[in-house]
Amino acid sequence: MTTLSREETDALIAEVLEVYPEKAQKDRKKHLAVNDQTIEQSKKCITSNRKSLPGVMTIRGCAYAGSKGVVWGPIKDMIHISHGPVGCGQYSRAGRRNYYVGTTGVDSFGTMNFTSDFQEKDIVFGGDKKLAKLIEEIEQLFPLHRGISVQSECPIGLIGDDIESVSKKAAAVIEKPVVPVRCEGFRGVSQSLGHHIANDAIRDWVLDKRDGAAYEGTPYDVAIIGDYNIGGDAWATRILLEEMGLRVVAQWSGDGTLAEMMNTPKVKLNLLHCYRSMNYISRHMEEKYGIPYLEYNFFGPTKIIESLRKIAAFFDDSIKEKTEAVIARYQPMMDEIIAKYKPRLQGKKVMLYVGGLRPRHVIGAYEDLGMEVIGTGYEFAHNDDYDRTIKEMGDATLLYDDVTGFELEEFVKRLKPDMVGSGIKEKYIFQKMGIPLRQMHSWDYSGPYHGYDGFAIFARDMDIALSNPTFKNLTPPWKKVVEDEAKKAA
């Protein structure tokens, strides 16, 4: 299918929305847009960060997911208590594949689930005593942990437990930081508020705890902010930065530690990858400590080179020289990969629907492989994300914010992309339709995708998905019924 013109895309949106009642139609229309690169302010074409209405199938998460799952969870030497009923922690345990180095259960706790397992009596009589006991037990069983964070689940806010006071008392007893995080799931419209709450908790309880302490710095100290080490992403990033001659002091928060976070105010530059989830803390550090932050993109050689030069521009000539050397060293490897995969992938069309930074950051990587992104959308973006996306996307492509299950399915049916990049919830629908899907939340259990090493894996994975002959031989179940009936009639 050829790329649609502006009018055709507009007509497509109207057609898809036709089945809704008038009021829902009007509401959903604001969240769907045709990209227009001339627009500077995304609020003129798309509405975002609004409450999803009951009745539509949204793909969003909750504030607890944003705090425990995204921001706090990967900090490996802390114990994150899922305070509340057992399910929230257990069903999200280790699902994001935030890799780390350490001995799980001894000095690292990333893939473990700690929960206060609320019962009826805790809801009725309050769970503060249970939390105090839990912290005591943790201290006894896992003495090598460096701190505790209390991640509230919905009931905590509803019954009005005072986790702050319990945390303060416990922190005095165990002499380690105990951070209460008020990230009850019902707060806000999506996981995005969870990120904000988590950032604020880090700001209030962690960031300034080593201010004034002795620290041996270099002029090349940087921190990687907003890289969650999914499948080893942050490591792939770190290698490149270290080859440039920079010293990575902290990783926020993939494979990160509490001490790293406390040392971050001493760095010279914050490198911000996931803008959505960690811009709050970056802005705070810029204001309070005067550390500038820089948004970068490590997906695909074109963007990597651009970002490396942008980062090097902050430092002296020795770094700039080393950066050019790094770029030159990896260039043959990149040329080889592109020569191998581009002929196989050229002209293929992709639709994306993910969260955070991916809907715009991976576009460059697809373009390096000769592929085209014809539609993209965020689960929980705000308008500043769309401001950045408009420039990355081609003209007259489709933008969808907080897309519903129905809309995404219809868009895919009409636009017929060769591949969809989305999450596990969408995976099987599209695969049954005969369209390969790569799970872009956790790189479909592959990765890393960041950096030069990551691009090699990215290219291979896209090739694996697209060249798989299975999908061409597949009849979706709903078409099979029609076929069977036709046979019976004959």
Partner: protein, 73 residues
Amino acid sequence: MANIMIRQAESGGLTFYLPKRDLEASIESIEFDTPEKWGGELKLDNGGSYYIDPIAKPPPSAHFPARQAPWRG
């Protein structure tokens, strides 16, 4: 009073950020822009305008109390 944040943009201009609404915009013009007197009315590219009390030139990133213009104290 809205609490706003102004920072030096990569392109050299100034960006405006309203944390409460996660609103980012670039500042098209600023009334006073000298080291001693800085501030006044800000015109944004999204059509809005804000007023901050003129002060000495602040660091590259800072918070300000601002009022929606047209307001003159």
